[in-house]
């Protein structure tokens, strides 16, 4: 017991440090945002040839994380993969948070942000971006509904035990066992239905985000039917990887159960990463074999351009090869720490994938000498984000991360995980006694610290 208390104390101080760093970054980000909104997009280094930069890369990155997380949650709620059940609530929260960040980033990127509703007021049905905007909304409704269904029983428990949101919990509490049971069976059916509706929406959300680029015939690097698929696959990879990482660092499941969950998630993730590499290889083979100058130019930028290292080190090395080796490794693949790092590496590597999707394809202008036709900084060749772009990007990520941890703390995720964990072990066979025995006090301790901290 003293051990747990000590650990809890240590955890608290490092958590405090985390909050301080995140809040500082958020504050800088908010300042940078205020500059961006008062001055306009003049603060960016975007040009006439590269009109989309860091913010759009981050936007598709977060949409991908969101869609990936959601699709993973459907493995549980639609396809009944009990192994992952404990990760379900977290996956949904992650899907919601990342979606909000993605939408926030594309909104920040608009030249006239105040007019964003024009997309709905004047629907242009031939625009993929218009369809996507609608899909994002439909998608957020599905996620919020699912989150409610998943969290209600756990939240209801707080009506008696206290904790954050206890007031809300009282309103949602069940009258008795019987009512809860009836509600649960209804909720499970709703979850199935929402998941089934949600799958095509999530595929549309991210495959469609890929299609925003894929339909653009003026940029040959984007213009391929493989693109929406690559988007989906890398979305799954990033979603799975983030889930692996977050489960590893924040889940309060008993150790054995947790390792099992993290390992399954890690394996799933690197499997998808490998598929992603396969698609990449196929695309490269066709492009280089064909040797059409426009096509090759974009890939040349990616692989041998000024940011070649993003491709080789971030995207392929740290983002794919290393995590695959870690998860396949006999020792590393069976320990929570290395698995968490493998997850984090993939999450990080996909940022490289997104940057390489958005930027290099635009570097080669529509006519080779277009940058020389007009002498102005908005006509130069190449692109590197401005200080403001970096700070806004970092700030938004920091705000998102901070909000995530706050939500993680406020919402009854631990309880929901616990309920699901019990449920899945019960379903898998007779519950191992020791797991249960050590599970309860740990959860209780977690509860105390979670109540006091924020």
């Amino acid at each position: 017991m003293t051990n747990t208390l000590q650990a809890a104390n240590e955890g608290r101080s490092s958590r405090l440090l985390g909050h301080v760093v995140l809040l500082a970054l958020s504050a800088v980000g908010i300042w940078a945002l205020s500059v961006r909104f008062s001055e306009g997009l003049i603060v960016t280094h975007l040009t006439q040839h590269v009109p989309w930069g860091l913010w759009i890369s981050l936007y598709i990155y977060f949409i991908g994380l969101s869609a990936g997380s959601f699709l993973l949650s459907t493995l549980i709620y639609v396809f009944g993969m009990k192994r992952f059940e404990a990760a379900g609530p977290l996956a949904l929260l992650q899907a919601l948070g990342c979606l909000v960040l993605g939408m926030l980033l594309i909104w920040i990127d608009l030249g006239h942000p105040a007019r964003f509703l024009n997309v709905f007021a004047y629907w242009n049905y031939s625009s993929v971006l218009a369809w996507e905007s609608a899909l994002y909304l439909a998608y957020s409704v599905v996620i919020i509904a699912e989150l409610y269904l998943v969290l209600r029983p756990a939240l209801a428990r707080r009506a008696h035990s206290g904790g954050p949101l206890a007031g809300l919990a009282k309103k949602l509490a069940f009258a008795g066992e019987a009512e809860e049971k009836a509600w649960r069976s209804k909720a499970a059916r709703w979850m199935l239905l929402l998941g089934i509706i949600g799958i095509p929406i999530a595929i549309g959300v991210h495959g469609g985000t890929g299609a925003i680029f894929a339909v653009v015939k003026s940029r040959p690097t984007w213009y391929t039917g493989l693109f929406p698929i690559v988007f989906l696959v890398s979305a799954l990879a990033s979603g799975g990887a983030l889930l692996t990482f977050l489960t590893a660092i924040s889940s309060r499941l008993p150790k054995a159960q947790k390792l099992d969950l993290v390992r399954s998630l890690g394996r799933l993730t690197v499997g998808v990463v490998a598929l992603d590499l396969l698609l990449l290889g196929s695309e490269m083979l066709v492009v280089f074999y064909g040797g059409i100058p426009h096509h090759v130019a974009g890939w040349h930028q990616i692989m041998f351009g000024p940011f070649w290292w993003i491709f080789w080190f971030v995207q392929v090395g740290l983002g794919a090869v290393v995590p695959i080796l870690v998860v396949l490794g006999k020792r590393t693949g069976n320990a929570i720490g290395p698995l968490a790092i493998a997850g984090l590496l993939v999450v990080f590597g996909i940022i490289g994938v997104r940057l390489n999707i958005v930027v290099p394809a635009q570097i080669e202008p529509e006519f080779a000498t277009l940058p020389d036709a007009y002498h102005h900084l908005r006509f130069v060749r190449g692109y590197f984000p401005s200080g403001n772009e970096w700070l806004v990007g970092l700030g938004v990520v920091a705000i998102g991360t901070w909000l995530f941890f706050v939500a993680r703390r406020l919402l009854p995720l631990d309880e929901a995980e616990q309920l699901a964990g019990d449920h899945s072990t019960a379903a898998a066979g007779p519950p191992p006694i020791h797991a249960k025995a050590e599970g309860r006090p740990a959860a209780a301790a977690g509860h105390v610290s979670s109540g006091g901290d924020l």
């Binding site: 003049i42 030249g111 006239h112 509703l117 709905f120 003026s218 102005h376």
Partner: protein, 279 residues
């Protein structure tokens, strides 16, 4: 797009700015979208400028004779002047390409306005329909509707669109130069101010449509064509077989019939309204 079928469309007429019925239906299908549209219009977010459709009977186009072009680039300056585009925004640009190694070198040079594509990529991808295709073939931008997402820039195969990042030639807002509004779209957007359209919008060559009269015919030719001292830029109607170049009087169709004309990036299927006669 609400394309009226009358014979004498007036460019200044208030074309119905709200969604036509078929689009309404689509919105209805999207339940949530319809609700949002309602919220948008209630909240005053629904902004649009009066839309001119131009003359149905015309298809404005250019025939650029590269044999006559002396690469003086006066066309680009005339365009800057006419449309008063800010720094970093270019409608018509002049492109020069060199190929080969000495002594076997080749040089190509040509003026590139917006191609006013029949199948314009820009208006196809625009989520708000701010970029739209007029009846007379000109592709225009409704600055009040445009949200500045820049999808159209990414999609245009000819690099013919510019985002207005808000640069100014002269910082002082009260300077005489800054008090004159740009004449494009009939000076509909007034004097330039920070954060106000067209700043924050995507802009493009409009074939100088503000030079059209109320019947949709040109009072005078586009600035680039007018200014070209080599008489290389022919501008006129491509629909009517008898129509002549507004600057030099040659029959447009005859110009196209004589020397094998070509269009840029024909393989993409955008069907530009700008033809080149080889040098």
């Amino acid at each position: 797009m609400a394309r009226e079928e009358n014979d004498t469309p007036t460019p200044q007429a208030d074309a119905e700015p709200s969604s036509p019925p078929d689009r309404r239906k689509l919105l209805g299908l999207l339940g949530g979208g319809a609700a949002l549209a309602a919220v948008a219009s209630l909240g005053g977010c629904k902004t649009t400028s009066p839309r001119a459709e131009g003359a149905q009977t015309r298809r404005w186009g250019m025939v650029i004779d590269l044999k006559r072009c002396i690469a003086c680039k006066a066309c680009t300056i005339a365009c800057k002047n006419e449309n008063k585009t800010p720094p970093g925004v270019a409608y018509g640009v002049f492109l020069e390409e060199e190929a080969g190694t000495f002594p076997h070198v080749r040089r190509t040079a040509f003026f590139r306005p917006c191609m006013q594509c029949e199948k314009s990529s820009c208006s196809k991808v625009c989520p708000t329909g701010a970029t739209y295709h007029r009846a007379d073939g000109i592709v225009a931008v409704d600055y009040k509707r445009c949200i500045g997402c820049r999808y159209c820039i990414a999609a245009c195969p000819y690099g013919a669109r510019s985002f207005d990042y808000g640069h100014d030639y002269i910082a002082d807002a009260k300077n005489g130069y800054n008090l004159i509004p740009s004449s494009e779209y009939g000076a509909a957007y007034g004097t330039r101010a920070k954060g106000k359209s067209p700043s924050g919008n995507v802009r493009k060559c409009t074939f100088c449509l503000h030079l059209q009269d109320e019947n949709g015919d040109y009072r005078e030719p586009t600035a680039c064509a007018r200014t070209c001292m080599g008489k290389a830029i022919h501008f006129g109607d491509l629909k009517n077989p008898e129509a002549t170049c507004l600057v030099h009087g040659e029959k447009m169709q005859a110009l196209l019939a004589k020397r094998s004309p070509y269009r840029l990036k024909e393989e993409l299927g955008n069907e530009p309204a700008v033809y080149y006669l080889p040098a």
